[in-house]
């Protein structure tokens, strides 16, 4: 708390949403590139996909799905907050979306192993 003097739960939700959005946006071109290999070089696509067998890559993948889930639930939370009649339980919402994100990504991770 000392390093970020003004931190509080909703602020953390904000920074998480921003960083996850940023991460996704940076990942997206790579993702598109790999998929477009399907057209030109299926073998390399396969090579890429095989990489997913390595634990480290699995972890990175987990990270990505986590980002997407966090951003997804965070985004839904924001739109609910902005557009649906206001409910005061903001912090609960933020926590719940985080929890949801963890749940999904962990399921993913567990099934992938």
């Amino acid at each position: 708390m000392k390093a970020i003097p003004r931190a509080h739960p909703l602020w953390l939700a904000y920074i998480l949403h921003r960083l996850s959005g940023l991460g996704l946006a940076l990942f997206l071109p790579a993702h598109f590139y790999v998929l477009s290999l399907a057209l030109t070089d299926t073998a390399r696509l396969d090579a890429f996909l095989r990489l997913t067998d390595y634990p480290l890559v699995k972890l990175a993948e987990f990270g990505l799905v986590f980002l997407l889930a966090v951003h997804f639930f965070g985004g839904l939370r924001l739109m609910a907050l902005e557009w649906l009649p206001w409910s005061a339980a903001q912090k609960t919402w933020a926590a719940a979306s985080l929890a949801g994100a963890f749940l999904i990504s962990t399921t993913f991770l567990l099934r992938a192993i």
């Binding site: 997206l28 998929l35 477009s36 399907a38 997407l68 997804f72 985004g75 993913f108």
Partner: protein
């Protein structure tokens, strides 16, 4: 486009993406069992009008969404303003769309395998 229109476009594109993300995550959890392969992916998607429209809409939405999102971040965290900001955001949107379109084409166009 006014800032408020950008806001609306970002929210609406997020809403368009919401079902996609759910399905996408679901498919991934399902597909990842036993590892991914190019053939698996392509076998599912190639020649399918449904998947073309599905991924096509996603690419349009995400280009808009991420470009606006990055525009915000560039302005708030990198101090970009005015036309420099708008041109950069447009360029990001265009690049994302081009790469995304290529990927969709690669994954859903018939006969490429």
């Amino acid at each position: 486009m006014s800032e408020f229109h950008l806001y609306m476009a970002q929210r609406l594109s997020a809403l368009v993406m919401a079902p996609f993300v759910l399905v996408h995550i679901g498919v991934m959890i399902y597909a990842i069992q036993g590892g991914l392969s190019a053939a698996e992916i392509l076998g599912r998607t190639q020649g399918s009008v449904f998947w073309f429209l599905f991924y096509g809409m996603f690419v349009v939405a995400v280009s808009i969404h991420a470009a606006i999102g990055l525009r915000t971040i560039l302005s708030e965290w990198a101090g970009l303003r005015g036309s420099a900001l708008n041109i950069t955001a447009l360029a990001i949107g265009a690049i994302l769309f081009a790469m995304g379109a290529q990927a969709v084409y690669a994954v859903t166009a018939t006969g490429a395998a």
